[in-house]
Symmetry: none
Subunit: 208 residues, 4 copies
């Protein structure tokens, strides 16, 4: 898919994939450290293990690197979410399990998520739409789990809002870390959020 969006002059697709993975790995660290704008293409090339000339054989513009990075982050998030969620399960446990998995994931990928939050606006309109769609897909996955897990009638809007709340609360753990991680561990944070949510849904649950 990213190959569709970011053309390369190199024909060998396996090589393109390999080089781009090097690039993403190198770039993500730099973007976390100093942000997209303050990272130079030379630094990216160096961190990727090849020359500036080679870098430009695999991308057209610096922005492409950012796109590749964002895309790869969402890819990884999506894969792990799909592993964690079983769409056929209908118990409340399946919801709490999904939340736990997602929050844990957000804890693991704090830095990456923070980068995405701060840098997507540097993408072109098209690329932003592409990334936004991935986000929508993820929220839709959460909506699905909620619908499956909650007995009783719930207006669609409420479902949507809960999904969005969960989604943002996961991210918030990372980008408000300076405030939250003084008071909570990822476990206590997860527990308390689930508790608040389920109280609101008139559910009892034995935590854990």
């Amino acid at each position: 898919m990213p190959e569709k969006q970011v053309p390369s002059t190199i024909k060998d697709e396996a090589l393109v994939s390999k080089r781009r993975n090097q690039m993403i790995k190198g770039a993500v660290t730099l973007f976390i450290e100093k942000g997209f704008h303050k990272t130079t293409t030379r630094e990216i090339a160096k961190a990727s293990g090849f020359s500036i000339g080679t870098l430009y054989e695999y991308i057209r513009k610096k922005e492409d690197v950012l796109f590749l990075v964002c895309d790869s982050i969402y890819q990884r998030v999506k894969e792990r979410m799909e592993d964690a969620i079983d769409p056929h399960q209908t118990s409340v446990q399946s919801l709490t399990h999904a939340i736990r998995s997602y929050f844990q994931l957000m804890d693991d990928m704090q830095d990456e998520v923070l980068v995405m939050y701060q840098e997507v606006k540097s993408l072109s309109r098209d690329a932003q739409d592409y990334v936004l769609q991935k986000e929508r897909d993820m929220v839709a996955m959460l909506e699905q789990v909620i619908v499956n897990s909650l007995p009783g009638e719930h207006p669609e809007e409420e479902i949507k809002l809960i999904a969005n709340n969960i989604f943002v609360q996961g991210q918030m753990w990372g980008f408000r870390r300076w405030i939250l991680q003084r008071t909570f561990t990822i476990e206590s944070y997860t527990d308390t959020q689930i508790q608040l949510l389920l109280k609101g849904l008139d559910k009892e649950e034995t935590l854990q």
Copy 2:
């Protein structure tokens, strides 16, 4: 206070205030449009209505403009929050009123808040701390209202988390606008969030 942090070569303090307001007004629009990094100092000067030379009589570095913008946003938010919150009131209504006011405010200042979210990381460490503190102050205000308004015992952690949730949900209205504002108006968004919150707190309330 910002005068303490951002020195100017101009002596007339009233003039400094006036020019800086011009600057903030001009810069915010540009930052919203194209981000801090892609906005040039010349553009800021032009949008502010004076020359590049004059701009630099009122700041030392480009970053100072960003700081002034962030500071002014928080200033305005804080002022409006203080107007909206009565610390002596103890009813649930005072909480819902605070939330309504805050969400309305976030609706009014969507663009500004978005800018802050995406650009604070471009500030120096010191300036970031300064801004972070303002944020902490605001969350503390929300905590206070929650403590005052909720009968019954609530662990401190729970209070903290609810305050953070409300704070982020307000901002989320702005920075997830492309998703949320398809489904909600600011009113329906506010109502649904309050409903979810109060359900969780085992309170009944006639909305509005």
Copy 3:
């Protein structure tokens, strides 16, 4: 004389004199510290005790300040040389006395002389000529003393060269201070130079 070369918009000549003395005093310190080019007009104004606007009432261009400074340095040097030299005396002592006075003067005004050496080239052609003339006058004074003091025939060229050597050796004490002042004090430096000179002139003298 400098009033001829550096016009002022102010009529009151006494005031012009006073202000310019303030200026020279302030500027010389700055030039010694950081050089002419790295000193700003604002700094000069501040060090002079008045505003940038006032500064420009007494000069036309920044370069004028440098001229005034150079002129004042030469003025002071010339005055002290004239005090030290008696054109009617004809003994060898009168030569050694002149050298001693001049070297002492160069020791006192090391910094000023260094500044002049490094910055005259920043003056306009005209101003450089004016300063150069002052230098020629000084060398001529030394020539006069030499002619008066030395018995026997000496070709004019030799006199000229000796005068130039003395002149430069005086300055060298200041601008080669890092090397010379490790080995010599101003007194030992003076003694040794005089000794070398007089040996060459087949003269005996009881040093001081």
Copy 4:
């Protein structure tokens, strides 16, 4: 050695050398004409035959150009002095030969030496020390020749002073050219200085 002090982003060392020579050649002319401060980096680039971007591939800061120029001047001076001086010769002729060579050199490199005199102070402390050391080395070479050439006892201080005098008299030919070159040719200047020196040292010598 200068490669140690002035890093370049270009890897090909031969190319670095070539480009830097272009740079030095271009810059020296400009510095002579208008001084270091009034010469712009774009002018240097143009005079060197490449673009401003390329210039900065071979230096880090404008000051580096000045350092390279100073370094190259001293390098050339040193090389020619080493050719001219035979440390095993012990006759007076070896001293006069050294002086003649050195003065001739100073005549050839008048402009360069003038530039150095006026601009070293614009170098950083470190670079100034480096250049000063080269100067000390040169003076030491002269001291050596003097010690070797002069029979009889001479206090160390006297040797040092003579070496310094010769050193500065060489430079003086260039930086006081407007005065000296009216009266002398380089040959007559050299002869007269040698004559004065040897008289002082109670030596007879057939000039030439």
